[in-house]
Symmetry: D2
Subunit: 138 residues, 4 copies
Amino acid sequence: MTIKPYKHTVQYYETDRMGFAHHSNYIRWMEEVRSDFFDQIKWPYVKTEEMGIISPVVSLECKYKHPTTYADVVSIEISVEEVKRAKFRVSYVMKNQNGDLVCEAASEHCFLDKAGNIVRMDKQFPEFYADMLNLIKQ
Amino acid sequence: MTIKPYKHTVQYYETDRMGFAHHSNYIRWMEEVRSDFFDQIKWPYVKTEEMGIISPVVSLECKYKHPTTYADVVSIEISVEEVKRAKFRVSYVMKNQNGDLVCEAASEHCFLDKAGNIVRMDKQFPEFYADMLNLIKQ
Amino acid sequence: MTIKPYKHTVQYYETDRMGFAHHSNYIRWMEEVRSDFFDQIKWPYVKTEEMGIISPVVSLECKYKHPTTYADVVSIEISVEEVKRAKFRVSYVMKNQNGDLVCEAASEHCFLDKAGNIVRMDKQFPEFYADMLNLIKQ
Amino acid sequence: MTIKPYKHTVQYYETDRMGFAHHSNYIRWMEEVRSDFFDQIKWPYVKTEEMGIISPVVSLECKYKHPTTYADVVSIEISVEEVKRAKFRVSYVMKNQNGDLVCEAASEHCFLDKAGNIVRMDKQFPEFYADMLNLIKQ
């Protein structure tokens, strides 16, 4: 399965007085990408939540390579880097409309039930676990 | 009872590429003010939520008079304009550190229980209702 | 000319702990709509800025009718209400994917040059002024 | 010189529908901390900007240890980790009002002039450079 890149158009309210998109917004775009990714692999996050599972961010890293600003269209590729029983790690490559690399990033997530207990995906959601494993970048 | 003005220091991430605080942030500062207001009158919003009551914004108006930017300290006065059984209206006057009027605003709120039903404050929370009535600007 | 409605998909980071999109985000969506509107009428805001003109928000009003939440698709219609020499007023009608009215709003804007002086659109940008006048809702 | 921890009160608008402060806000709090830090060491960022120097984020890392929510008071300690001629690295330790570790993070920054050229702090701002070096955590 091929994941289509996600496109985010930089909004005016995302810029700061340096004239560029504020660095905190890239973290939000990463969430937009994950939301789109889970839609693409047919495990929409809305459904995961309905099953009582949330997937908070455990850690993230972000390298800013080139600024972006209002009206830029950022194309973001997501790759599954690692899938463990209760955790997964994805990476992101962001490019602007000219193909310039603007940001490289990664985030790790776990799965929790409503009581805050860690959910073992391999046991409780074996199909989702298998789908994620299959998506690991070779 | 006198309500002390709330102070908000404008953050860098609140500015946009015009060089000023983005207008959407004033709406967030109004929420900060209400939070502080409910603390001051000893009805902290955290407790209201614990009682199962939320208080969404029904409407708002905002007039932007003078821009603010990073490191400005905005002093915001809140006044209770109207208190009805299931609704209240507050207004806000915002001034910068030089005393310039930067924004005038107002917001209306209702009270809902967890099922989304309107809560009659006069019946279910008569003490809160009485306290709010007493705060109406003369 | 017919303006196509703008669509905004509600992001997870736009929700708050009530479970709904935070009311301040609707103000940001209004900006997204204006940006798209100026693209549609061939006066992209990026170009207006390059000409040295900014168009800050002078005032706004917003009535929240129905909550929205993560993954909702909000369709927003914009209408030009009033065009004056140095000011214009637009209104917004927002509906969710089920056609429910979620928000009605309006905003007023002026035009300023880089020195902060008011720009008379009829004199300095007569074509833009004429285009805006033609778009007034009958 | 001892740097006093910065305190951030979590706002309602910073929470998401998981019920916790959205992870992107911690990145914004880090900026609040740096702003306060530069004030404490008498190199307020407003002045650096007036001198024509901006200091964008080059990279960041963030480990989320424990959630925070509305009305929590997060105390944030900043430490200077590394100072190079054109770059510096700071780390952050965030604790809630109960002393629980909520987040560990770090960010790297460079210095640029208005033309986007890298500024050598040791040559162009030797006093600032010396002050930063002196603050490196032993």
